[in-house]
Symmetry: C2
Subunit: 141 residues, 2 copies
Amino acid sequence: MQPRLSLVTLGVANVARSRAFYERLGFVASPASNADVTFFSAGGVVLSLFGREALAADAGVENTTPAPFSGITLAHNVASEPEVDAALAAAAAAGGRIVKPAQRAFWGGWTGYFADPDGHLWEVAHNPHFPLDASGAVVLP
Amino acid sequence: MQPRLSLVTLGVANVARSRAFYERLGFVASPASNADVTFFSAGGVVLSLFGREALAADAGVENTTPAPFSGITLAHNVASEPEVDAALAAAAAAGGRIVKPAQRAFWGGWTGYFADPDGHLWEVAHNPHFPLDASGAVVLP
């Protein structure tokens, strides 16, 4: 298996509401999107929004009430500390909930978290140890 | 905010166990990894493994018992139907649990699901409507 994550799908309560939230953040929906599903190009990976119940059914697992912590976080890495503050402010302005205001991380970066309308957690981080390439993707050591 | 997903972190019960599972699948750990965290280049995005409790603490949220359905799925898209079968077989051989055997999707593709050691769900899919570029990344319409 090629080591590749192609697509991440967030199960949401209301696709239209979540799509509007991510559009306010600057994501642009692909024309392949429809009322039931939204697809965003998100760098080298696709971010998709799908009804939570439909997503569970697609996987053939039982849907369960969203837990306070899903066990998965997403991250948006940026090139500088002020860009962390700006992205968190943009997320709050778009209707996101600031879960952890920007602060110094023990590993030396500057980082905070916001939650999308369904509580999916996004870290916004400047990590001085993980440079970004020209497109903005993280380059691992 | 630039529309980019930089990194996805899976909260896991045992980082070493999960790292070994993903290495058996073909992922290669970055030297930036250590006993507490693993980083894999996964195409244009980084896949990271971190203790579930530590991840909740990092976000400043309460850790909760893993639910049967996290509300998020990952996907690995491949160029042909036989590659779906091969990837699911590789996942099973690596110790993954087949949640949904490969089958015809209503949208015309060929797709199945496996779960990693913590139950994180991966879809393996061939989607004839989403071509892959030379690197293997999905190209959205």
